[in-house]
């Protein structure tokens, strides 16, 4: 099957911005193995595009961050990860864009500058 068609199927697998299980099963049943792989790949890509991945150093701020981000990205699913090594700050991955504001990062930049100066 044509790649464009498969992509169209993947698009059509959504009802109101949500992946529709019934449609997915229906499509998957009729697709050939090779095309199925492409179909899943497109679905995965759509899911990635619709998901916002957020990393925070602690649980405490999760609720507040979720409220604020869902205003900026009303249609995206927001997934949280906790990473204590960040020390402080936030990292947001919006599909292929990473926004990072972490203390660890700034510390590293500062240290880099110091070492390059005294090398």
């Amino acid at each position: 099957m044509n790649k464009r068609l498969i992509k169209k199927l993947a698009e059509d697998s959504y009802s109101k911005e949500k992946l529709d299980r019934r449609k997915v099963f229906a499509f998957a049943r009729v697709l050939r193995r090779r095309d199925l792989r492409k179909y899943i790949r497109f679905l995965k890509n759509f899911e990635d595009r619709m998901t916002l991945r957020v990393t925070l150093p602690t649980e405490t701020e999760v609720g507040r961050v979720r409220r604020r981000l869902s205003k900026i990205f009303p249609n995206k699913k927001i997934v949280f990860t906790i990473d204590p090594t960040m020390l402080a700050g936030i990292r947001v991955i919006d599909y292929d864009n990473v926004y990072e504001l972490s203390l660890k990062n700034s510390l590293e930049t500062a240290l880099d500058q110091i070492t390059s100066r005294y090398d």
Binding site: K3, K7, R41, N45, D48, G89, I93, Y95, D96, N97, V98, Y99, E100, L101, L103, N105, S106, L107, T109, A110, Q113, I114, Y118
Partner: protein, 508 residues
Amino acid sequence: MIREEDIITKLEKGLMQWRGEAKTLNIGIVERNTDGVIQATGLSKAVMGERVEFENGVSGVVLNLDEDFVSIILLGEASSIKEGDIVKRTGEMLSINASEELLGRIVDPLGEPLDGKAKIKKGSLMPLEKIAPGVVEREPVNTPLKTGIKAIDAMFPIGRGQRELIIGDRGLGKSAIAIDTFINQRNFKKSTSKLKPVVCIYVAIGLKRSTIAQIVGKLKDNDALEYSIVVAASSSEPASLQYLAPYAGTAIAEYFMGNGKDVLIVHDDLTKHAWSYRQISLVLKRPAGREAYPGDIFYLHSRLLERSVRLNSKHGGGSITALPIIETQANDISAYIPTNVISITDGQIYLQSDLYNSGVRPAINVGTSVSRVGGSAQSPLMKGVAGKMKLELAQFAELAAFSQFGSELDSATSAALERGKRTQEILKQGQYQPLEEPYEVLSIWAVTNGHLDDISVEKIGKFERDFHQFVKRNNPKIITVLSSGDKLSEATSKELEKIITQFKKSFK
């Protein structure tokens, strides 16, 4: 010594800033890695020719931006990258480090030395992909790029900033023309030279390693390596490196041109370059067109050769002359890649197998070869002496075919035939023996003025060698006069007549 308070001030400064500056990154995810050709999703802000970096520090370069994915060619170990790996933009174009230190060196398209010597340290980062200079920066071609090959300098002169294609089947002397032209540039290093010296860059694409070693050896033996640079991606290197080679060579050429230098770049050969691109495109499953080449192959080569120009003095006056080489199959110049490159260049030197086999070397087909801009880049001397030769030779080819029917020939026809044979003979030239212009002129002047009409064809090679020696020994002054490149004066013509009459008395 690092003082503690320094560290603390630095840290404080860093901490003060951190709230303000968020780091943003554009990333992608590897979907597939086929022999070092990567397809990744994401990277929506990447641009063509940009360097990207994988998690493990390996670099790649963006080759294509397709609708659903970005194609990347890997510049390191192919097996090191797998599906799901993250790749990030760097915001830099893929570049090569260029400096004067490159002269005499052999490097790969990433600038890694292949001659066992140290890596080039200081230098300017030159992008592999670059938009060609616009019309306002350019100047018409007006200075000769001398090959030292009589047939070319007389009939298909090449100018600095020109793009002249060398085309023909395998084993007809295409590379030989390029190498002899490199060797001939030694004449312009001399302080007495009126023309600027030329930096030579040999881009070897998909050639066997042993062939590359031979080319380097010949350049070295003829003292040409010191002003040359070899950029090599042999047939045993991955297609990606072969694909990058001509761009790397051109990037280095642009460094020298930017410093006001005249550069000569040879791409040996673009047929194999097209193959490497076809191979990469097959891996990417991009739609293929004629002869299974992807549709943008034409654009690829024109983008490359467009960068060979002559800059005007306001922009430093440097130039890049390109001699791309195309290898044909069974003399077929109507195949896809040959026709493409013919249409991009300013002329072509066409080598033909039947000429080669009948002993005409260099085996240049006078009828089909052309140089569209070179005429204005010939010295008045050469122009005056070689003027009618091309036409005469073309007529000779026709007459020669005609005379095979064995019909009676009138005396004018047989005289033209005899002259043609001698002209063809004197244009033969051995390998690694490029000639300085005064000597080229001596030979061409002698034949076009009928001084060889009474010499048998078999003796012409010896006649030429002895005549050059004779003039060099007995009349060095005339060589100096001819070196000026000025139009042949009445007096000089008379002097030449005297010299050749004298020489012929002693010649047996």
